[in-house]
Structures are given as C-alpha cells and as structure tokens.
Symmetry: C2
Subunit: 112 residues, 2 copies
DNA sequence: CACCATATGTCACTCACCGGCATATGCTGA
DNA sequence: TCAGCATATGCCGGTGAGTGACATATGGTG
C-alpha cells in the first residue's frame, strides 16, 4: 500500500461528504460547487474513488433506496474517514502556509 | 489535460525553491525538512519533476558549477513558477478551509 | 576499508485520474 | 414528437506523476 498523499479530486470528494451524506451524482455537483467550478469529477474518477474509499473504510454506504426504479446509494464518512480528512486538511494547510511564507520572504524585494 | 492539480511532492519541491535557489539533493533534504520528515523525495520523482518543471517553465537553472569534478546545477523559481505556486497554495488552502469547516458543522442542518 | 552522506541520473512499474462510452428515466422546448 | 438535457450509475483503455530499485562517483568517518 503506497501511502501516497491524497489528490485533489479525492480530497474534495471526502469534503463533499463531510457535512451530509450524498449519492454519487450529488457528490460530483457538490465538488464542482466547492471548487468554484474548477474541478468536475468525471464519472470514472467518481465511482472508482467511491469503490476505493469504501474498501479503505473511509466512507460507507449510508442508505440504499429505489428512485425511479433505479438504485440510489448514498454515502457517508466513517469515523476513520473524518479523521483522515482532518489530518489531510491540516497537512495541506501547513504546506500552503509554508509556501506562502517562503514566497513572501523571497530574499529579494520582499514586503512592499 | 496538463491542467491536473499539482501533487504534494511537486508542491513541496517548488516550496523548497521559494526562498533560495537549491540543487537537487538540497531540494530533497529541504522537502523532508519542510514536511517534518513525512515526505522523502525519491530520486526518480526528484529528477523527473525537475525535468518536467523546467520544460513547463516553472523553474530554471540558476547556476552550474563543478564541485568535486562533478556538475552541480542549482535551480530557481521563474516568475510563472512563483505565480503558479501562489495560485496552488491558495487553492489548497481554500480546500483545507472548506474541509475543516464542514467537519465542524457535522451533518446538522445543512443543504440536503 | 567498509560504510554512509553527498550527489545525479535511468527505468520498469503502479495506480489515481481522465475521457469516452453505455444505459436508463424524466422533463422541457422547438 | 422527439431531440436534447439533467439526473444517475457504471465500465474500460490510456496517461502521467510518483515509486522503488539500480547505477555511478566522491569525500569523510569509524
């Protein structure tokens, strides 16, 4: 298991589930909304990631219902999922802070 | 597309160059330091990324000198590189903020 | 003298993400 | 009327950043 850092689509997917349970398509719309239209989850990415995250135990099926004679599955974060998202959020926030700080202290002209 | 979001190793690499120019190995050490020992840049990732970033114009060769009869190349951020890093830092900071915010408001009365 | 830090580089492989396709329903408008 | 779009789930081949192992070379330390 390569402990590789979470990528943006996955991070946004988990974020979309952080407040309320949602089904696949709703997650995709929410991700687009969160990212200001920047990131549009492809269905390949979406359902692939859901499958992967289920296996990793970061999300779980919240409810299964039949809507218009089709199955709709809603997903929700598990406790480990919430924890993982919190860790990941703090990690990237720290990286962002460090990058911003260094860009500021450029060594060159610096602060205005 | 090439529009794909930057991954952590690349982001840290650029961050390591944000204050002063460094050569490859120094970048690797700096990245390890910045990330608190969490991320160790493999040489495959390092030199592969340097090559890619050079081609993308985000970094450039700052100086080439012979040290111990071996070539040492130091790299520095270009203006587009600084801009890209700033954009990326703000992007992930925003994502982190949103994730943290949502984790806080845990599924109470939000949009269904 | 073995071993490690320093230092740069190649290459086969993996896997998350991409892009396109398939499928099915309900609504809206030319 | 039916073309087209939003809704909704899912598969599959391909791409490319990152991985891990290997290659090579020097200078210092036990």
């Amino acid at each position: 298991m390569t402990d590789r850092a979470m990528q943006e689509p996955t991070l946004l997917l988990l974020t979309a589930l952080a407040d309320v349970p949602r089904h696949g398509y709703a997650i995709a719309r929410e991700v687009e909304s969160i990212s200001g239209g920047r990131v549009k989850l492809r269905t390949g990415t979406l359902y692939g990631a859901l499958e992967r995250l289920l296996q990793q135990g970061l999300i779980e099926v919240h409810k299964e219902e039949i809507v218009d004679s089709r199955l709709r599955r809603t997903y929700t974060l598990t406790a480990p999922g919430r924890a993982a998202l919190a860790v990941e959020a703090e990690r990237i926030a720290a990286t962002a802070r460090e990058a911003t700080r260094r860009l500021g202290i450029t060594g060159k002209a610096a602060t205005a």
